[in-house]
Amino acid sequence: MSETTFMGVERDKIDWKPAIDYGKCNFCMECVKFCPHKVFEVNENDEIRLIVRNPNNCVVFCRACSKTCGPDAITFPDKNATTQKIKEMRKEGNNG
């Protein structure tokens, strides 16, 4: 399901991924169970057991995992800023 481009812009140039606030996260792993795109990874033996492993798999503008997070530990970038940035990159691409 992961696409290499989104709206004509290379996916890795778009800053859209979940950020985990480890001060709030209780490692319930609901987000891991929820996300079908394997954005998160669990490392049971590490001190920080949950990380964002594949940020580019995250569907741009999807925030659904944050709704499954009881302690409200997941945040996303500002959507309007991301939209604006995508528009700018598309223009640059067209001009280049």
Partner: protein
């Protein structure tokens, strides 16, 4: 005020309701930048009105239940955006229409009530029965993967975002929903959380959620605007989204605020169909 509409009144000269429909059209043209389509002339001069109806939302004013104006619109394949019927409005406002062909005091009052109704914010026409002009008679292109069939409507007024949501745009309104890709992935949809009526949504904001036993997804709005109605049927029967997410399974209707800008990040049928095929093939 209703502005930039094409107005097709019944204008039947042998009935009071017909004369009233013509009067309403004239008043709306006097008070806004609207254009009347003459129902008689339209029968013989199709080209004159084709451009107008292609470029402007169409308001149909039927006089009575015979709905001649609606039938002309259907015959000409005009897309109706809104319509009212004078006799129904008269009943609603307890005004009795008689056989007179020149307007009397009560008839003029009805004209005023209806025209004033169109003056409400955003042309919402409170007090005027509103029948949506979104007709869903899409032609679909289909793509099959195993037992799953994915349809995409072939219609130049339907736009898509890459989040698998669509917007069907007519004039300054759009209906939005999800595509077959979403409903097939979710499987049986069990729950629908609609957006709030009156909510201001910007492009790519969530406009409600749908949930199945497999997952929950945000409906990511392809367009910016104010939510003016939701598909209330879905609250009781969210499975309508599985049945047809483009027709009975539409999600919400928005009054658009910045469609020219929104369009920059939307795609049409050709691109979306290819994108969806890629996603299906994984």
């Amino acid at each position: 005020m209703v502005e930039n509409y094409a107005i097709l009144p019944c204008n039947g000269l042998d009935k009071c309701a017909g004369v009233i429909s013509g009067e309403i059209a004239v008043k709306l043209c006097e008070s806004g930048k609207n254009t009347i389509i003459c129902p008689v002339f339209s029968k013989i001069a199709d080209a004159k009105y084709r451009k107008i109806t292609d470029e402007h939302p169409l308001l149909v004013i039927d006089g009575c239940a015979t709905r001649c104006a609606s039938k002309i619109a259907a015959e000409k394949n005009y897309r109706i955006f809104r319509k009212i019927t004078v006799t129904e409005e008269a009943k609603r406002h307890h005004i009795e229409l008689k056989d007179n062909l020149r307007l009397l005091e009560d008839d003029n009052s009805l004209v005023e009530i209806i025209v004033d109704g169109f003056s409400d914010a955003g042309g919402m026409a409170a007090g005027v029965s509103e029948e949506s002009g979104f007709s869903f008679e899409f032609e679909y292109e289909t793509f099959q993967k195993d037992k799953f069939i994915f349809r995409v409507p072939r219609n130049t007024s339907v736009y898509f975002n890459e989040n698998d949501c669509w917007a069907y745009v007519i004039g300054n309104r759009a209906r939005i929903g999800v595509t077959d890709f979403v409903q097939q992935n979710l499987s049986d949809i069990l729950y629908f959380i609609p957006p709030e009526i009156g909510a201001i949504i910007s492009q790519f904001d969530a406009a409600g959620e749908i949930e199945s036993s497999k997952a929950l997804v945000d409906i990511i709005s392809p367009v910016s605007g104010m939510v003016v109605s939701i598909n209330e049927m879905l609250v009781q029967k969210p499975e309508l989204i599985n049945e047809n997410p483009y027709e009975s399974g539409w999600i919400a209707e928005l009054e658009l605020t910045d469609f020219e800008s929104d369009k920059e990040l939307l795609i049409g049928f050709d691109k979306y169909f290819e994108l969806m095929k890629k996603k299906v093939e994984g």
